[in-house]
């Protein structure tokens, strides 16, 4: 039976009815149309569904929608402002850190979350923080360069 939940996504309040077994990623993508959050494995292995939940980067395929009741979520759609792309997004574009782009939403959110908490991370801290986000195209080199350049902005 569906349950009504209240949550805040990208500073906007939502009231939605969800199935008890529905995942947060499915709620975001198929019910709310926030398709920037990607689904690559549905098992928490690839990180492409990463969102920021109450200040923590999580795999939204491993979070049930009802667990998000009353909580605050930021998705990739919430980063851009009237001034344009977020500096981390800008850095990914400028440094060539995006190829197919399927991992980019999750990768950018993990990077943004790292920089929110650790404004000046070391190379090792960047690699640790983003190690749960798989990318098969880039070999990660330009992603690391992008995060390094974003931290100086």
């Amino acid at each position: 039976m569906k349950k009504l939940i209240h949550l805040t996504i990208n500073d906007q309040s939502f009231e939605v009815a969800v199935e008890p077994n529905q995942t947060l990623v499915d709620l975001l993508r198929y019910q709310l149309g926030l398709t920037g959050t990607k689904k690559g494995c549905e098992m928490g292995d690839c990180g492409s569904c990463t969102v920021i939940l109450d200040g923590k980067a999580v795999n939204s395929c491993l979070v049930l929608a009802i667990q998000a009741d009353g909580r605050n979520i930021q998705t990739i759609e919430g980063l851009e402002t009237a001034e344009g792309l977020h500096p981390v997004q800008e850095a990914f574009v400028e440094k060539g850190a995006i190829q197919c782009g399927f991992c980019s939403s999750g990768m950018i959110l993990s990077a943004k979350n790292l920089l929110d908490q650790t404004p000046n991370p070391s190379d090792t801290q960047i690699r640790r923080a983003l190690s749960g986000n798989l990318c098969r195209c880039t070999g990660y080199q330009k992603i690391i360069e992008a995060v390094q350049s974003a931290k100086t902005i």
């Binding site: 398709t35 990607k38 792309l85 997004q89 197919c100 399927f102 990660y140």
Partner: protein, 786 residues
């Protein structure tokens, strides 16, 4: 300074702002009104006869709109190469691997479709399962396909020169056997599609594919539709690496279900199904015997290879040829004999994956060359340079190295890694190794025998002037081809990159064979360039008449018209243009004549300005059987140096650094070239160190997920130093050639050679897991004691 205004730069990719902000649309982000959801029934058994299929319960489940099996789909055989069409959409007599498709369901939602699949009753009669090459080739082994006795899917026998005669003149002959493991491409976006059949009998298929053209043909052939009614459109694709380079059962099922229901039907693989479908890198077992003179001159290579093919051919015929032909270069090798066999068994089919057919062969041979160098007391670099081809050389199997910056690549990595300061001087446990490789810049022939153009392009100027619309059916799958072609169009036409808009990946735009065999930059690039030049000529011809200036005395650059003569009076044209645009704030006032004005005048004079371009390779070398696999208009090449640390107590290998130089001809987009090099290295590193698709004794994949099938994470990747070596490829647009696959060739052997340098032990089997390395170290120690 570059002589170019657009290409040969680090232009920002045009798709990446949308990809960074979540706006870029991939297949599963799409939905259509009234869309149904499809699911597949796939075989739980690796080899069985189908006795009975009963779909009645599934059909009666509320919400189910269609259930299809071989009875509805028909039995038209398809595959990749017409010479080996060995698949039907659904199995009818028997299943040949775990995951083989039996039926498909369309329902109002995915949950209902999955439930319906579980209600389909199939009675099987189990057959003996063969999972290895040895079992499949054994006397009396069960046969997968009656047409192919002995389970031999394909065999190749070729000899160039006379290997045995050459061996008689050799001072050293070396034999090694090498084995890689089945690799998965592990792209992050699983395959998916939406098919939509309309009332007029038109079928539109949106699919995560690398090859809209081949998918269009396969859909039309298998479902018996007029090809003019089939349109394939590719949204953004979350990479493919070869596995999405042919029509798959999802696409065909979704099309059939949409035809049956009259509704759009969406289907996706989940991650487990991605592994079960397979079609990625084969497991190869190579045995190579190389003969050299004392001074290191290569004289002959005798090569036998067995490919673990799985249940169907897929790309396998090309693979078994590539595994032999790609050793013809980049060294001067006068004699080469090859015997290759691709063997069927009850595992998912293998197919084409980055570096198609050549990666394991290259790893085997480049390690063997190092062994030969050591025995001859020649440095590995010296041995390679001594035998290296130069531009214009032709291999014994007729591959023409029309450009080849191989020597420059070697020198670049030698300097870039400080090789001379390190080789032979590192402490035990640390090692450095190098290797070379090359790859085709586009298959010389289409997959089906045809005189078709490999790419056609249309460029249309917007009627109000100024913007060039490029239409190409080529496939942007993440590599950056859209930006590359926009850059080529802008350069050839003489306009700014921001004045180009490009649409791609739609079969309605023309013919393009798609993203495989590293073909697009050279082949589609040629067609784009030709179309842009056509448009340029049309605009200049109108201007010539209007201004009475010969075409040859005008130029377009940076979206401005330049004249050789001083004081060409174009004020009449400008006045006409301005009059048409009263109230507009961006009208040209003074300064040079703009392309916008010129394009508008051209339209007013002769109507819409449309330029067309096309490309197919010139006649390529090789008249022998199989020459179609390996011949290409150009070849890219690479040298790499790997530096590793090996923990001798645990067998754990850490790759500390890779220095990679690649000759891509002229780099169109420098950042994208580096991106291909860095991505290739990470894929090679994964295959070298930990990737292996594993099966249980019933033919089930036991690591069909991205936790147990390990691809490199950010923590696994070392610093990769990329060095672009530019040559000027005579057969490439602006001198450009491939980078997407050649760059993976040296990675594995460079790591193998570095590991040997670190611990003094040769390992001839991948992946280099701690267990395998540790055991190899122990074996070597035992060998020394006895």
């Amino acid at each position: 300074m570059s002589e170019y205004t657009v290409i040969n730069s680090r232009a920002v990719r045009r798709d990446t702002p949308d990809k960074a902000s979540g706006k870029a649309v991939f297949i599963d982000d799409m939905s259509l009104p009234g869309m149904l959801y499809g699911a597949l029934l796939q075989s739980p058994l690796a080899h069985a006869r189908i006795v009975r299929i009963d779909t009645s319960k599934a059909r009666n489940l509320p919400g189910v709109k269609s259930v299809v099996t071989a009875a509805e789909a028909g039995l038209i055989k398809y595959g990749v190469s017409p010479a080996r069409y060995d698949e039907t959409l659904f199995c009818h007599e028997k299943v040949r691997y775990v995951g083989d498709d039996i039926a498909a369901v369309a329902a109002v939602d995915l949950e209902t479709a999955i439930e319906a699949v579980s209600l389909i009753e199939v009675e099987y009669e189990e057959l003996p399962v063969v999972l290895t090459i040895e079992d499949a080739m054994a006397e009396g082994a069960p046969v997968l396909h009656n047409e192919y006795p002995g389970n031999i899917c394909a065999e190749v026998h070729s000899e160039f020169g006379n290997v045995e005669a050459a061996f008689a003149n050799c001072d050293l002959i070396k034999t090694t056997t090498f084995k890689n493991k089945r690799q998965d491409a592990a792209f992050i976006e699983p395959q998916g599609c939406i098919a939509s059949y309309d009332h007029f009998g038109n079928l539109t298929l949106y699919s995560s594919t690398q090859v809209p053209h081949y998918v269009q043909r396969t859909v039309a052939m298998v479902l018996k539709l007029p090809i003019g009614k089939v349109r394939v459109v590719k949204p953004y694709v979350g990479a493919g690496f070869g596995i999405k380079a042919s029509a798959n059962p999802l696409e065909l099922s979704a099309c059939l279900l949409s035809m049956k229901t009259g509704k759009p039907v969406k289907m996706n693989y989940n991650r487990e199904q991605v592994f079960q479908y397979g079609r990625a890198r084969h497991q190869f077992t190579h045995t190579m015997t190389t003969g050299v003179k004392k001074d290191g001159a290569l004289l002959a290579l005798k090569h036998v290879c067995y490919l673990d093919g799985g249940a169907y051919s897929s790309f396998g015929i090309a693979t078994v040829y590539y595994a032999g032909s790609l050793l013809g270069g980049p060294y001067k090798l006068p004699n080469m004999k090859y015997d290759g066999y691709r063997i069927y068994n009850n595992k998912p089919a293998c197919g084409a994956m980055r570096g198609h057919g050549g990666v394991a062969a290259r790893a085997c041979w480049e390690q063997q060359l190092d062994m030969i160098a050591e025995e001859l007391k020649i440095s590995p670099i010296e041995l390679r340079l001594k035998n290296m081809m130069v531009a214009g050389d032709v291999t014994c199997n007729d591959l023409n190295m029309s450009s080849l910056g191989m020597k420059e690549c070697i020198e670049a990595v030698q300097n870039g890694s400080e090789w001379s300061a390190k080789k032979g001087k590192l402490p035990k446990g640390k090692g450095i190794g190098m290797a070379c490789g090359f790859f085709v810049s586009g298959a010389g022939y289409p997959i089906y025998r045809s005189d078709t153009y490999h790419g056609t392009v249309v460029i249309k100027l917007t009627e109000d002037g100024g913007t060039a619309l490029v239409y190409t059916a080529s496939a942007e799958i993440g590599q950056g081809s859209d930006t590359t072609f926009a850059m080529i169009a802008a350069e050839a036409l003489g306009i700014r990159l921001e004045d180009v808009r490009l649409e791609s990946g739609d079969t309605d735009f023309g013919v393009d064979l798609g993203a495989y065999s590293s073909r697009q930059t050279l082949m589609t690039g040629h067609a784009v360039k030709e179309a842009a030049e056509d448009v340029r000529q049309k605009v200049l011809e109108v201007l010539s008449k209007e201004l009475n200036v010969p075409v040859g005395e005008m130029d377009i650059r940076n979206s401005l018209i330049g004249f050789k003569q001083a004081n060409v009076d174009f004020s009449g044209l400008r006045t006409r243009y301005v009059k048409e645009h009263r109230g507009w704030t961006d009208n040209p006032t003074d300064g040079p004549l703009t392309f916008k004005e010129a394009a508008r005048m051209a339209y007013l004079a002769i109507g819409s300005i449309v330029g067309t371009g096309k490309y197919k390779p010139h006649e390529l070398g090789g008249k022998y059987k199989g020459a179609a696999v390996g011949t290409s208009p150009a070849y890219g090449c690479s040298a790499q140096i790997a530096e590793v640390t090996v923990d001798e107590e645990t067998g754990q290998i850490t790759v500390d650094k890779i220095t990679d130089a690649h000759d891509c001809g002229r780099a169109i987009n420098i950042t994208s070239v580096e991106g291909q090099m860095e991505g290739s290295v990470s894929m090679g590193l994964g295959e070298a160190l930990f990737e292996e698709v594993k099966f249980d004794n019933k033919g089930r994949v036991i690591n069909a997920d991205l936790a147990e099938y390990k691809i490199p994470t950010m923590l696994d990747m070392p610093e990769v130093k990329t060095i672009i070596v530019e040559s000027n490829e005579p057969n490439g647009p602006f001198g450009a050639k491939e980078v997407g696959e050649g760059a993976i060739m040296p990675t594995i052997p460079a790591i193998l050679n570095a590991v040997y340098d670190a611990i003094g032990v040769r390992i001839h089997e991948l992946p280099l897991t701690p267990e395998r390395v540790y055991m190899a170290i122990q074996e070597a120690k035992k060998g020394k004691k006895t």
